[in-house]
Amino acid sequence: MQPSTPQHSAPELTKLTYLEAVVQAQLEEMERDDRVILMGEDLNVYGGGKLFERFDRNRIWNTPISEGSFTGLGIGAAITGLRPIVDLGIASFVYLAADQIINQASKLHYMTGGQVHVPIVFRSTMYYGASIAAQHSDRPYPMFLNVPGLKILSPTTPADAKGLIKAAVRDDNPVIIFEDMRLWGMKAAVPADANYLVPIGKADIRVPGNDVTVVAIAGAMRAALEAAKALSAEGLSVEVIDPRTLKPLDIETIMNSVARTGRLVLVENAHRIANLSSEIAATLAEEAFGSLKKPIVRLTAPDVHVPFSPVLEKILFPEAAQIVAAVKRLV
């Protein structure tokens, strides 16, 4: 699957926020393909409001508060000819749907020996840093990394949000997308092409550099870019990599970068134990140990729940200053 951006003329671009790009991607896919339906809670009012006005009730299913089962309805519909987008809203609610996502969606193609196909997209948004406490503030993607048969995406730019969501809808396998509320307001150029796709499984080098490699995941990208800018002013060249697809992970791009820099800082807002940084660090220790000139640094949320009070929550997630300090320790 290749981006269909014309090679010889500049693509037409529009400025969109991350959230607008998410809506546009779904709208375009629903217009392109009648089999694409949307399911989720309060879709008549929130998020997809624009979509609700455009399509009839057969395309947008405003569900009861039954995440554990409407997710399964989407899977049954996917197996019998539709391509549902299941909107689970806040990422903490994905736990309610996890049985159907893991035990049915991820396994059925394999367990039936390829007899059934499950072309479905699960969407959710990671809310945190908003004083809504632990039951609304999860970043649960690491738990799904341990599930075979799922593709996991987390775009960090409006263009990638559009291109990856569209690629997910066109994929014949179950794909789970963790969007990040911290990025919703970010505005940037997005290709207007209704067939603009970002390939699943390909990382993006957001900032090229030579001294230290920084891999930042989801909302942690904001702090990483801020840190890269500050360090650049001090004459340090940081390469910032955005995996975009968390699984299957483009480890090649990360290893190629570390082969040049010899130094690696991993930044993410998930909890520290067995997260994506753990997996990247372990893989590099196994396969690229010789490239490393310094120990790998992981900057993550600690192993404690997200507290309500803003003064307590603020200290949980890595900020630019910590990334700057980590990079300086390595050079």
Binding site: I37, N58, R59, W61, T63, P64, S66, G68, S69, F70, T71, G72, L73, G74, I75, G76, A77, A78, I79, T80, G81, L82, D99, Q100, N103, Q104, L108, H109, Y110, M111, T112, G113, G114, Q115, V116, H117, P119, P148, G149, D171, D172, N173
Partner: protein
């Protein structure tokens, strides 16, 4: 709609196919040819076949961990099913599913879920898909009495009723969730009564009577096809063997030997149907010819499975993802 004589003979053929398949399977499991755990449908044949006979070839179905009877009831070939139980490459699921997952998509089965209650949302989603695609198909959803206590049952039946989806919820109530009797786990022991709470019809019937199952399911199918929505059917049935064959139950027996004996000798659905057919004038030679045909098919399936290759370990990653 009542069973015609032609359909009663077909019911006998399919019920016997399940019975003989399970008898051979049990033997092969006990001798070690079939690995894992064996979940026999013996005793529940009338419920399965009575419901399946109401469906068209293009209708859908979901089932449970007790999965061998469902595809046979819907008309599947036996070879791939037996090969699957033996973990062969020619198995219906290429040796990736086994006893709890004999799903044959060629007869419309989209999955046999060994997560109790896990198939109920899938079947409901099939109903939603039928609605979106504007066909007059239906989905028959099998589950057991244990599954009724899962949240998926409540959530799914609510949505099916809300949106009038073409789904038939068929509870194979065999009285026991593994070893826990129904009265030990259901605050409301009438499963059919629960339908009231969701605004759909609920029917309780004798699941050992293939005609009764056929009639009630036919009505539910007509209702579903005409856009009037789902029905809950509680078929009271019985499994003759343990939850899985050879399961060791410590302590006192959870079922009275008299109860098992009563079902085996007086409420055996295959025996009941054979006797009724004979009493209604079907010649013994006609029944014997069905029996010979079924025996040959089951023997053929065992030969096919035993002669099939085991999967190549190099292929273990195949079908993890669809190649699109």
């Amino acid at each position: 709609m009542t069973l015609t004589m032609q359909l009663r003979l077909e019911a006998y053929r399919r019920m016997l196919r399940i019975r003989r398949f399970e008898e051979e399977g049990t033997r092969l499991f006990r001798e070690g040819t079939i690995p894992g755990a064996y979940h026999s449908s013996i005793g529940q044949e009338a419920t399965i076949v009575g419901a399946c006979l109401t469906l068209r070839d293009d209708d859908f179905m979901t089932g449970t961990h007790r999965s061998h009877g469902h595809p046979i009831g819907k008309g599947a070939e036996l070879d791939g099913l037996m090969a699957e139980l033996m973990g062969r490459q020619t198995g219906i699921c290429k040796g990736r599913g086994g006893s709890m997952h004999l799903a044959d998509n060629r007869v419309g089965i989209i999955g046999e879920s060994a997560i109790v209650g896990g198939g109920i949302p899938l079947a409901t989603g099939v109903g939603l898909s039928i609605r979106v695609r504007r066909t007059d198909q239906v989905c028959l959803c099998f589950f057991g009495d244990g599954a009724v206590n899962q949240g998926t049952f409540h959530e799914s039946l609510n949505m099916a009723s809300l949106w009038k989806l073409p789904v038939i919820y068929l509870c194979e109530n065999n009285g026991y969730a593994v070893v826990t009797p129904l009265e030990g786990s259901h605050g409301q022991p009438s499963i059919a009564k629960r339908a009231d709470a969701y605004g759909m019809p609920g029917v309780a019937l004798d699941g050992q009577d293939v005609g009764a199952v056929f009639e009630a399911t036919s009505e539910a199918v007509i209702r579903a096809r005409s856009g009037e929505g789902p029905t809950l059917i509680e078929a009271k049935t019985y499994r003759f063997d343990e939850h899985n064959v050879g399961l060791l139950i410590p302590g006192a027996p959870y079922r009275a030997p008299e109860e098992i004996d009563e079902y085996r000798t007086r409420r055996d659905p295959v025996m009941l149907l054979r006797k009724a057919l004979f009493d209604d004038g079907v010649r013994a030679s006609e029944l014997e010819s069905i029996e010979a045909e079924v025996d040959a098919a089951v023997r053929g399936a065992v030969r096919f499975a035993e002669g099939s290759p085991l999967p190549d370990p190099a292929g273990v990653y195949e079908d993890l993802f669809t190649r699109s």
